[in-house]
Amino acid sequence: MGKLQTLTKGIIKENPSFVLLLGMCPMLGTTSSAINGLSMGIATLFVLTLSNIAISLIKDFIPAKVRIPSFIVVIASFVTVVQLCMEAFVPELYATLGVFIPLIVVNCIILGRAEAFASKNNVVDSALDGIGMGLGFTMALVLLGTVREALGAGSFFGYKFIEGDGILLFVLAPGAFIALGYLLVIFNKLTAKFK
C-alpha cells in the first residue's frame, strides 16, 4: 500500500465513524455545534497520531500478554497531556467538552488503530494512518456538528442565519441520534454509487 493511500484511506474508504462505526460516544456527545465537533476532532487527532507513533516505536519491546495494558497507559498519558494543555490554554473550550476529553482514552478508534495498525507497521506509516483516521473522524464530527447546529440553532459555526430558535430537538440528545442515522443513509447511498 502506498504512503498516500495509508493517509487517505481513513477519510472515505475506511472512515472510522461512517464505515467502521467506532467512537460513537464523542461523535454524538460533543457535536451540539460545529465548532465543538471540530475541537473534539482535533484533540482526538492529536492523541491518535502521537499514540500511533509511540506505539509503533515501542512495539518490539512489549511482551504479547501485556500489550493491551501497555497501550492503554501510553494512550492515557497522551490524553492527560492534551487535557492539561487544553485546560491551560483554551479553558472555555475545555469547559464545553467536559467529560469527553478524558474519555478519549476509551475511544475505540484509538485502541483499535494501536492494535490493528501501529503494532504491526513502521513509524512513518503509523503516523500517516493516525493523521488520516484522525482527519476522517474530525470530518465526520464537523459534518454532524454542522447539520445539528444548522437545524437546531439556525447558525453556521456560530453565525446565525435565521431569526430566533431552530428546531431545538437537534441540539438535544434525540436529534443527535436521528441526524447521525440520516447522515449514514446519505453516506451509504453516495459510496454505493462510486463502488
Binding site: S32, I58, P63, V66, F89, G166
Partner: protein
Amino acid sequence: MKSSLKNMVLTLLIITLVSSTAVGLVYLITEGPIAEAKGNKTTGALSKVLPEGDITNDPTADKQIVSLDDMEIIVYPARNADGVVGYAVESSTKKGFSGTFKLMVGFNSDMEIVNIEVLQHAETPGLGSKMGDPDNVLLVSFKGKSPANMKLSVKKDGGDVDAITASTITSVAYIDAVKRAYDAVLSLNDGGLK
C-alpha cells in the same frame, strides 16, 4: 516478543514510570497557566458584575467565605474611601437541570442587583444555557432590583421572575443561586451594608 513474568512486569513498570514522569512534567509546565486562566475568569467576572465607579481595594484579596447548606459561597467586597460600594458573590446551586452551576452576582450599596454572570454550567445548549445570554429574561427580571423587595419564584408559581421558556428547572435553580448569594451577604458580620 515472548512473555515471561519478568519481562512483563519490567515492561509495565518502565512504561508507567516513563509516562507518569512525562505527564508530571507537562503538569508542572501547565500548572501556572491553568491557575492564571482560572484567576482571569474570576477577575473578568468581577469587573462585569460590580457597580461602576472607584474601587480602591482588591476584592479578591478581601474575599470572605460563607457556608450555606454545606456549600461554599464566596463574597468579594468592593470598597473605596467612603466604605463598601458593592459586593460580588460567587454562588452556586445543585438544583440545575444538569447538576451544579455557578453564578457571580453583583450587588450595589443598596443591595440591588447590578449584573449576573454565569461562571460554570452544564445546562442544555439552546434551552437552559440561555441563562448565560446577555439580557435574557431571568437577568432582566433581577437587574436593578433588590431581592428583598421581590417574590423569589417564577411567575408560574406566583413570583416576580420571568422564567426562560421551556427551562423552568434551570430558572428555579438560577433564582435559588441568586437568593443564596443575597443571604450570604446578609449573613456577614456587618449584616450587609447598613
